[in-house]
Symmetry: C2
Subunit: 280 residues, 2 copies
C-alpha cells in the first residue's frame, strides 16, 4: 500500500494458521511478497488468526469496551532483514465469552471511512459477528457459527446430496421468515430439506436457498437485540452482504454495505498510521 | 434368530448404503452370515437404508397414519440360492415432509413387546425421531438432525479443538435448560464454547456436555408438542437414551427406555412372522 492506504499490488494464498507451523509464516509471506521487497526494510501489518496462540506471534486480546485498534501492534519474529512485521491484536468479551481476530481491523477501517458512525455493524461470514459501536468503541459483540454450519451441512451432512448450485430468492426469504418465527424447530427444518428432496423432488437450488435462509434466519432471531430498530452496516464479501441485506430488508431493517476486503485494507492502513505516530 | 425371535448369533460390519453399490449388498451379507447357512434356504429380514433408492432394493414408503409394518416386505434380488432376503418398507409423512427407515421396525418391536402402548416414542440418534403412536399406528412424526450436528461440530468444526472426552452431568443439564429457554441463540451459544475455551480454559469434558446439551435442548424445544404432558418411551442405544432421560427428567417428563438393538430384533421377528402368515 502507499502511505495513504491506496492499494498498489495484491497477492493471496491459502496458507494460514490452519496449515502453517509458527516458523512457516515467514516463508509463506515471503513467497507472496518477495517480488515487492527492495533493500529498505518493508513495514508489514497483519491481522486475523496470524495473531492467535497458534499463529505467527500471539497478539493478546484487548477487552471490550475498547476502540477496535486500542493498543500497540505486536512485532512478529523474523529472520529476513527486509521485513518488519507487526500484528493487530484481537478483541475479546468476557461475558458472554466471545472473541474476534481480523474483524476489529475491518471495523477500524469502516470507522475510518465513515466518520462519526454510531450503531450496529454486522460482519457476515464463517463466524458472523454483530457489533455494537458507540463513540468509536466496540461496546459489545456476539459471534454466530452460521457460515461454518452452512459449510458443514452443505458439504458433509446428509444434505450434501440435496443442496446444489443456484439460488432461489423467494425460497430464501420464506426460509428466513420461517426460521425467525420458529427458531426452535431448526434441527427438524434442516432434516425436512432432505425429506422434501426424497418425497417431492425439491430443486437443488431451492434447497440451497432454504438451508441458507434457515441458518441466517436463526442468526437474525438470535441477534434481534442488535438490529431491532437500528440501521445496520454490513461489512463483508459483497455477495454474502447482499444476502444478509435481503434477509434484513424483509424484516424492515435498512442496511448499508461496505466491502470487507476494502475495510480490511483501510483498517490495516489505520493501524500502520497509528504505529508510525507511536514510534515517531 | 429362532422362530420365536430369540437371538442365536450376531454379526456386524460397517458396510452399508454409504459404501456399497446395489450389487455389493449380497456379498457383504454373505461375508457376515455365510457360516450360518446350510442347504435349506435361509429367510433374511432386513430394515433401514438397505431399502432406500440407493440400497439393495427400493422398498417404497408407507404413508402415515399407518401401522409401523403396514404391508408386504420387498424381495431383494439374490444370486445365492441359500438366502431369501425381504426388506421392510420405510414410513413417510407428506406434511411436514419426513421419512424414516429402520425406526419403523424398532417401533414395531416396541409395540410387540409393550402391548397396548399409546403415546410418544423418542428414538434418539443421528436423525432423532419423535413419534406419536395411537392404537398401534404411527400418527405423526418429526426428525431432528441432532446427532449428525453433534458429530459434525465435535469432529469437523472449530469446536473440535475444544470438545474432548469425558462428561459433566451438571453442565449438560444446564446447557439443556439454556437452549430450551433461548433456542434462537444456538449459533452464538455454539461459538461461545470455543470462546470460553480460549478465554477461560473451559474443560474439554464440560465442553462436550455443553455441546450435547445445547443440541439436545434445542431438539426438546422443537419437539415440545410431542412430549409436553406425556410419558415418553426412549428407544435407542442405552447410553444415549440415558442422556435423553436426564434432559427430559429435568423438565419433569417421565421416561422409560428400551434397548434399540433389542427393539430392532423384535421388530424384525414381527415382520418375519407377518410374512409367514401372509405367505401361508
Amino acid at each position: 500500500m502507499s502511505p495513504d492506504g491506496t492499494m498498489r499490488a495484491e497477492a493471496a494464498s491459502d496458507d494460514g494458521m490452519g496449515r502453517l507451523s509458527r516458523t512457516g509464516f515467514e516463508p509463506a509471506l515471503l513467497r507472496l511478497i518477495g517480488p515487492w521487497l527492495g533493500s529498505a526494510r518493508m513495514p508489514v501489518v497483519a491481522c486475523g488468526m496470524v495473531g492467535s496462540r497458534q499463529g505467527w506471534v500471539e497478539a493478546p486480546y484487548a477487552t471490550v469496551p475498547c476502540r477496535p485498534l486500542p493498543g500497540a501492534l505486536v512485532a512478529a519474529p523474523v529472520t529476513d532483514p527486509r521485513i518488519d512485521v507487526r500484528v493487530v491484536p484481537g478483541v475479546r468479551q468476557l461475558d458472554p465469552a466471545d472473541v474476534m481476530r481480523g474483524e476489529e481491523t475491518q471495523i477500524a477501517g469502516f470507522l475510518a471511512t465513515t466518520p462519526g458512525f454510531d450503531g450496529v455493524i454486522c460482519l457476515p461470514g464463517t463466524h458472523s459477528k454483530w457489533v455494537q459501536v458507540s463513540a468509536g468503541e466496540i461496546v459489545s459483540f456476539r459471534s454466530f457459527m452460521t457460515g461454518e454450519l452452512f459449510e458443514l451441512l452443505s458439504t458433509a451432512s446428509v444434505l450434501r446430496h440435496t443442496v446444489g448450485e443456484g439460488w432461489d430468492a423467494e425460497a430464501f426469504v420464506q426460509a428466513v421468515s420461517d426460521a425467525m418465527s420458529r427458531p426452535e424447530a431448526i434441527a427438524a427444518r434442516l432434516f425436512s430439506i432432505r425429506a422434501e428432496a426424497l418425497l417431492k423432488g425439491l430443486d437443488p437450488s431451492v434447497a440451497r436457498a432454504r438451508l441458507s435462509g434457515a441458518l441466517i434466519g436463526l442468526e437474525l432471531a438470535g441477534a434481534r437485540p442488535y438490529w431491532l430498530g437500528q440501521d445496520v452496516a454490513l461489512v463483508g464479501a459483497p455477495r454474502l452482504s447482499a444476502i444478509y441485506a435481503a434477509a434484513l430488508g424483509a424484516q424492515g431493517v435498512p442496511t448499508r454495505a461496505a466491502d470487507g476486503a476494502a475495510m480490511t485494507r483501510a483498517g490495516l492502513a489505520a493501524a500502520r498510521l497509528a504505529t508510525m505516530e507511536t514510534t515517531r
